[in-house]
Symmetry: C2
Subunit: 199 residues, 2 copies
């Protein structure tokens, strides 16, 4: 084997990154060790700090190192309005594309019985308690427009309606089968503005 | 901003990897924090260990944490034969594709006056001393078949000829303008077997 143990271990460890195969792991390793050791050290520290320090917001379940994330803690957000998204990246996408001023709830997935992902895995018991608390008066369903995202939206919509909460779904315009996270800002902004009550 | 400081810093630090833009940095961050913290910690350790521990072989200049790499230290390699390559990855490519049994010298680049890369940056003074030592009797030029790779081969060939060392160049068959590191094993093996004396 032409590589020393530390070099080989770095190549192997890089494979945990999505989309990184053996050739790109090799290219990354040489780039870092030959031209950017500072970048490698910074990345090592960022990974260790995030892996140890980041948990989830106890209110919305997004990734954060604080007990409550900055959005949930903000006194400027409308607390009666809740946007339901699949992933933390979707929070960022909505924040950047729209002037939405309410709170979020992050499912961290979507209903997928075959993969063992049911209501408990999505934190829907916590969401149910929150609905029961009475503060939420309207929800916007911003799950992805896939089959599973729609099923999840339907499920949450029924939970909310049972409490008399107004339910809307972001407008189509987000390409069907697409992933919210990768939609351009204009489309997402339009879909948000054109949301309709969900029946 | 929708992301907490530790999450944001991880996204930014991932950008030091070649080919990683903002969207893939975000995807990597969520993949690691939501599904693979073990992978993140392993990668953090591998990066720190390699960034601090890996230096270069004092004989061939390849990346290694030992003073002398495993190939240079091996008693089974033919010490009169030296293969000149641009990068550590090329050592690995030749090792995997051929039954070459000599030593290597890694330039860590190619002559490129406009980028300030001259003979000193490629360690050619050390190579000159090695030629002067008399152990090397034949070199195989395996720099990439690009304009700069050819110019580098010519330069090293002249140094070697001045010492009466036999010089060969790996055969074309490696696509011209291509990068040795990405050539399939069959082509590289063929190019190696079909090398000719370099004039
Ligand atoms: Zn929160
Ligand atoms: Zn060596």
């Amino acid at each position: 084997m032409a590589f020393s143990p530390l070099v080989r271990e770095l190549m192997e460890a890089l494979r945990c990154l999505p989309g990184v195969g053996p050739k790109s792991a090799q290219r990354m390793t040489f780039q870092l060790l030959q031209r950017d050791r500072g970048g490698a050290r910074r990345l090592a520290e960022a990974l260790a700090a995030a892996a140890d320090g980041v948990g989830e917001c106890r209110e919305c379940r997004t990734l954060t190192e604080e007990p409550v994330c900055a959005i949930c803690a903000s006194p400027r957000r409308e607390r009666s309005l809740l946007c339901i998204v699949e992933n933390p990246a979707d929070v960022s996408a909505v924040e950047e594309a729209t002037d939405y001023g309410g709170l979020y709830f992050v499912l961290k997935g979507r209903l997928s019985p075959l993969d063992g992902i049911g209501p408990a895995e999505l934190g829907l018991d916590a969401l149910e308690s929150r609905f029961a608390g009475g503060e939420v008066r309207e929800i916007i369903l911003a799950t992805n427009p896939t089959v599973e995202g729609e099923a999840t939206a339907q499920y949450v919509a029924e939970m909310a309606r049972a409490r008399g909460i107004v339910v809307s779904r972001i407008a189509h315009g987000v390409p069907v089968g697409g992933d919210l996270e990768y939609v351009d800002s204009g489309t997402l902004s339009h879909a948000f503005a054109g949301r309709r009550e969900y029946r």
